[in-house]
Amino acid sequence: MAQPPDHWFDEEAGPLVRPYAMTRGRTRPATGWLDVATQVMAVDSGGDPLGLGPEHQAILRLCRQPLSIAELAAYVDLPLVVAKVLLSDLIERGDVVVRAPEQVASAPGRDLLQAVLDGVRAL
């Protein structure tokens, strides 16, 4: 499997570095690597919602149906990196499930591409 994108940055990215802002100083999600297109879904973990901030709760409400991280970030109007950190909190608590990382990180195979092609042709 390919390396996660931390090892994959283009040298030409030059002086841009990963942001250091918000989320109590955390700039990267604790739980694995979350892609912009990763689908997440809320599950009832029985966890105490009191430990959660309003943004966490807004995310949980939005992803009662599976939704991508990019969509969540857009709907709660937070930068992607912030949405990822908040989601990693929720994943650790067991409030949210994601597809297994190996399925989101690699380029789609033949069956998946064929299904997408059929779907797009039918649009």
């Binding site: 390919a2 996660p4 994108p5 994959w8 940055f9 283009d10 030409e12 990215a13 030059g14 002086p15 841009l16 570095v17 990963r18 942001p19 250091y20 802002a21 918000m22 739980t31 892609d35 912009v36 297109a37 689908q39 879904m41 599976p66 991508s68 990019a70 969509e71 970030a73 857009a74 709907y75 930068p79 992607l80 990196v81 912030v82 949405a83 994943i91 067991g94 499930v97 994601v98 597809r99 297994a100 990382p101 399925q103 989101v104 990180a105 690699s106 380029a107 789609p108 033949r110 998946l112 591409l113 064929q114 299904a115 997408v116 092609l117 059929d118 779907g119 797009v120 042709r121 649009l123």
Partner: protein, 196 residues
């Protein structure tokens, strides 16, 4: 991480990038095929102070944002396709890297009046061996070039599909997307022979 059985209920995502220079029609293309009005999200960047392009002279670190717009096509209950318009400016390369990671491929839009605006995008996908097609967006005053002329001007391989496009029209954007998916499939390694 909780992911047990989640693949049974959580759809797979497929990413396609829509790239090309400034104002070449990326957002328009995403919007014309998306089932939802294009969404926009942003990524935060911290920029070091060294004198680079238009940031020369800026003291200390500044945080800036790069906007990212994207659309969605629900292919089936199990599969969702996302189209991401890549940020036009070269200094947002790192964003492209994250977007390109695991992507099915890219549609590189070009405006024949200013081809050079899309050179960086072509270079990016070529180097990473990410399948791409070139979609020639027709603007008023742009001349209709043959596919071969476009390939020559862009110095790209004969195997790369070149399609004419009007990003404002759904059918036209859809065709570019179909060409890309077909191209991506043709680039897959041959199917494993079935073990009998």
């Amino acid at each position: 991480m909780v992911s047990v059985h989640s693949e049974q209920i959580i759809p797979a995502s497929v990413k396609v990038l829509v790239a090309g220079g400034f104002g070449v029609g990326k957002t328009t293309l995403v919007g014309s095929v998306s089932e939802i009005p294009p969404l926009s999200t942003e990524e935060l960047l911290t920029e070091a102070s060294s004198g680079v392009d238009d940031l020369a002279g800026v003291e200390g670190k500044t945080t800036t944002t790069v906007a990212l717009d994207f659309g969605r096509i629900t292919v089936s209950p199990r599969i969702v396709l996302y189209l991401f318009g890549t940020p036009g400016q070269d200094r947002f390369w790192f964003m492209w890297d994250e977007l390109a990671y695991g992507a099915a491929g890219a549609i590189v839009l070009i405006d024949t009046r200013r081809l050079e605006a899309s050179f960086a995008a072509i270079d990016f996908f070529e180097r990473r061996r990410i399948p791409f097609v070139v979609a020639v967006n027709h603007f008023e005053g742009s001349y209709d070039y043959e596919a071969d002329e476009v390939r020559k001007a862009l110095a790209i391989n004969d195997s790369i599909p070149v399609v004419a496009c009007d990003a404002r029209k759904k059918d036209s954007s859809k065709l570019a997307l179909i060409k890309l998916l077909e191209h991506a499939m043709s680039r897959l390694p041959a199917a494993e022979p079935k073990v009998s």
